[in-house]
């Protein structure tokens, strides 16, 4: 019986040989994968070991392994914060607003660039749209101050000249969120359009030619060919953004917010910066990071399933 079982299964040596020969056959592909895989192993997976300090009272001297366990107290410290609800609310709302406005704007820009017949115009617009992405938020803060400053901003000069009076755009909780969302939109729209533009380039031109022969208008072509043609990419982009729903843009908020707008400007990451990093409470910072990751993962799983059901495609 034992003998027949051995005979019926594939010899281990042969399996290995087959696998090696398969790998050799696709050596180019595997070669290309080495760097990304190494990147994810080193940058994304190895640090997961350190995530255990979320459950520890971390002391640098004792190290990650040597620090004593303290259960969920670091999570509790975050959940006990009187600002927990506003922090989560601000984070999610900024994320959703940036997603809801950013993705359609990037698609529209990509469509516009794709549809335009003027090559020069396309190049100029494309370059101008990409440029803000390369500016840091520090520089953008200067630009925004020049536009919105209460004492010497351009808009307030106009307001005062037209008798409206001074509006403290950057320091008013009613106007600050708009500055956050629209400055992000302006900065990232061009960059975000790249991926959609690439997807548009992949649509078979024959489809458009056939549609033209059938008498379809430009708008109809967009509606029935272009958008369905990039639907998969849209789904992927949206799902990836949903996976990081609790990352509302630390750098931007950190630079732009000030005390009077903390109500609407403080997000989870800025709280973590103040309590976890500046206060050297690394365990709390890690616990909140872990919490954010878990929420992001849950959202990703749920929305991926929804996307597959509704749009017929998902991330995996």
């Amino acid at each position: 019986m034992g003998r027949s079982r051995i005979e019926s299964s594939t010899p281990p040596g042969r399996t290995l040989t087959r696998r090696l020969s398969h790998a050799w056959k696709f050596r180019g592909m595997y070669g290309m994968a080495i760097l990304p895989v190494a990147f994810f192993l080193v940058i994304r997976y190895l640090p997961l070991w350190n995530a255990q300090i979320a459950f520890k009272d971390f002391s640098p001297l004792d190290g990650v392994w040597g620090s004593p366990w303290n259960g969920f107290s670091n999570f509790a410290a975050f959940f006990r914060s009187p600002y927990l609800v506003p922090l989560i609310r601000n984070t999610v709302l900024y994320s959703l607003a940036k997603l809801a406005l950013g993705v359609p704007a990037a698609i529209l820009l990509a469509l516009g660039l794709y549809e335009t017949g003027h090559r020069m115009l396309r190049r100029v617009v494309q370059t101008l749209a990409y440029l803000p992405h390369f500016l840091s938020w520090i520089i953008l803060h200067g630009i925004l101050l020049g536009l919105f400053s209460a004492s010497e901003g351009l808009f307030n000069e106009i307001n005062r000249a037209s008798g409206i009076g001074t509006i403290n755009y950057m320091g008013d909780p009613a106007t600050f969120p708009f500055i956050v969302v629209f400055s992000d939109l302006w900065k990232e729209m061009g960059w975000g359009a790249i991926v959609f533009l690439a997807a548009l380039m992949g649509i078979d031109p024959a489809l458009f030619e056939s549609a033209q022969v059938e008498g379809a208008s430009r708008l109809q072509q967009v509606r029935y060919i272009t958008l369905p043609g990039i639907l998969d990419v849209i789904v992927v982009v949206v799902l990836l953004r949903i996976g990081t729903i609790l990352d509302a843009g630390f750098h931007q908020l950190f630079v732009l917010y000030s005390v009077p707008v903390l109500d609407v400007g403080d997000i989870i990451d800025t709280w973590v910066y103040r309590q976890g990093i500046l206060n050297a409470d690394y365990s709390i910072a890690t616990a909140v990071g872990l919490f954010k990751g878990l929420i992001g993962l849950s959202f990703l799983l749920v929305f991926n399933r929804l996307a597959k059901r509704i749009a017929g495609s998902g991330l995996y």
């Binding site: 971390f58 002391s59 640098p60 001297l61 190290g63 410290a77 006990r80 914060s81 009187p82 600002y83 101050l145 400053s149 209460a150 004492s151 010497e152 001074t166 403290n168 950057m170 320091g171 909780p173 000030s258 005390v259 009077p260 903390l262 109500d263 403080d266 709280w271 103040r274 309590q275 990093i277 500046l278 206060n279 050297a280 690394y282």
Partner: protein, 520 residues
């Protein structure tokens, strides 16, 4: 023959050992130093700075120097990140909050033994028992409390030319201040026909638990009500948070009035220090609290002078409040705490660290303060610093291009007159007026201040982020009028603080200050 070979081999091996040993001995000890540069706008000393060579040749130390970021928060972040990885440098500058955290985490080496190895420095730098207490943790010294910045450097100043133009007298009381600020805002004091000036200029400048809230730029206003600073540490009886006093409410009410009437730059809550300074140099403000050096030295004044050759800032006494109180701000026995990492001592670098620090207090003192003798400075007949007779006047220590080679002054300075006079040299404005920065500073020192050294011992609460936000946010909202300032809302604010642990914080703070023997 074999015996000869063996002897020859042995001799060769011995010679090699000697050579290797000598090489090892000659190899300099690497000391990594993170320090706050003297001038935030300048970079570190260049690679060919004489100090590197001298330290290598005379002390056997290879100095690896990094300037810490210029803002407190960025400094703390850099240090905390290194601490988290147990990768602190050998010597570094820390503020007291960070000092306590690093000491608690066991990352710092005790310094009492180290101090015995640097007798001159200990005598010249660590001779103040009060300052030494600020570098203690659990009764033992874990830091080197070097003399900090000069005391009483920031004070109340006003545009004298604006006063003259509007025919006003310098304000004496807090109400005078309001009226002058109003005139400066509304009556076009610069005569340019535009409504582009503000009576008062400020921004929220906070760094630690002693100055949360509106920050130090508002201290003279709060001082007029007897509540400058977050803490009252003037006595055991009244120890606690100043916000509990009714006068604090009055002070915030006054700031709210200034804000409501548009007498303060409406950007005060969003401005950063550089933007604030750019604005007074552009002639936006008439009254402010400013650092005497930032206001008047040869390096800082020209930008204002160029815009307003006839403009003139003068120091005046801080405003007097309804109960006759006034204060320029909080007075600390200031210290710059340098710490030595436990890692450095464990690596056997203790002696080298002591050698280096002692050198900065002895042979390297003048080099750190003024550069190379005969290159960057000379000495006059009385032994005072001079620039007369320098072969290349462009290399004078007073030239802004030479600032990078003086970035380590904070390791050497003891704030003696010998140091200060040449650092803050008198200079002429474009219209020929002479500005003497030290005179402005001396004026500040003659004004009333609020003793607050003990407040430096107070440790922030565990829920620092929430507590600080609640405290600062509410005060700013009251001042801006975003939140109605009424006795009821103030009571709710105090109740909110208590809910966040204010009473416990006050209790532990008092115990800490009493333990240090600083509470009368």
């Amino acid at each position: 023959m074999n015996k000869f070979k063996a002897q020859a081999f042995l001799a060769l091996a011995l010679a090699l050992c000697v050579v290797i040993g000598a090489g090892a001995q000659a190899k300099p000890v690497e000391i990594e130093l993170w320090i706050t540069g003297t001038a935030s706008e300048a970079g570190p000393p260049p690679a060919d700075w004489a100090g590197y060579r001298i330290v290598r040749e005379t002390l056997g130390i290879e100095l690896k120097l990094s300037l810490l970021p210029t803002t407190f928060t960025d400094q703390d972040m850099k240090i905390n990140a290194a601490a988290a990885a147990n990768r602190l440098p050998d010597i570094l500058h820390v503020n007291r909050d960070v000092f306590i955290k690093l000491a608690k985490q066991g990352l710092l080496a005790p310094t009492d033994e180290l101090m015995k190895k640097m007798p001159v420095r200990t005598k010249t730098h660590y001779d103040d028992p009060l300052r030494n207490k600020l570098a203690m943790y659990k009764g033992r010294m874990y830091g080197l409390p070097d003399p900090g910045k000069m005391p009483m450097t920031d004070g109340w100043v006003i545009r004298k030319d604006w006063l003259a133009k509007l025919g006003l007298q310098p304000p004496k009381t807090i109400e005078d201040f309001y009226q002058v600020a109003k005139a400066f805002t509304l009556n076009d004091p610069d005569g340019n026909g535009k409504n582009d000036t503000y009576g008062f200029g400020a921004f929220i400048e906070t760094s630690d638990i002693t100055n949360w809230g509106l920050g130090v730029r508002f201290d003279p206003i709060l001082g007029a009500y007897g509540v400058a600073g977050v803490w009252d540490v003037t006595g055991a009886k009244n120890f606690g948070l100043n916000v509990r006093k009714p006068e604090f409410y009055d002070a915030i009410q006054f700031v709210a009035r200034l804000n409501k009437d548009g007498l303060i730059d409406p950007d005060w809550t969003t401005l950063k220090k550089d933007e604030f300074r750019a604005r007074w140099k552009q002639g936006k403000y008439g009254i402010m609290r400013e650092n005497f050096a930032a206001l008047s030295t040869v390096a800082n004044y020209p930008a204002f002078d160029k815009n307003f050759p006839d403009g003139e800032w003068i120091p005046i006494p801080p405003p007097v409040g309804p109960k006759g109180k006034s204060s320029e701000g909080m007075l600390y026995v200031d210290t710059r705490i340098h710490v030595v990492s436990k890692r450095a001592i464990d690596a056997g670098k203790g002696d080298a660290v002591a050698r280096l620090l002692e050198w900065f207090a002895t042979d390297g003192y003048a080099l750190a303060m003024f550069g190379e003798k005969g290159v960057n400075y000379t000495l006059d007949a009385d032994g005072n610093i001079s620039t007369a007779g320098l072969p290349d006047p462009d290399k004078s220590y007073a030239k802004s291009a030479m600032v990078p080679i003086l970035q380590l002054r904070n390791l050497a300075s003891v704030n003696s007159d010998w140091e200060l006079l040449p650092r803050y040299v008198p200079h002429k404005t474009l219209n020929g007026r002479t500005i003497r920065p030290l005179e402005i500073w001396r004026y500040f020192t003659t004004q009333p201040w609020t003793e607050a050294t003990a407040a430096l011992l107070i440790e922030p609460p565990a829920n620092k982020a929430d507590f600080e936000r609640f405290y600062t946010e509410n005060l700013v909202k009251f001042a801006l009028g975003q939140q109605a300032l009424t006795p009821a809302s103030w009571k709710a604010f105090l109740a909110g603080l208590d809910k966040l642990g204010a009473k416990e914080l006050e209790k532990s703070a008092k115990a800490k200050v009493e333990e240090a023997g600083l509470l009368k």
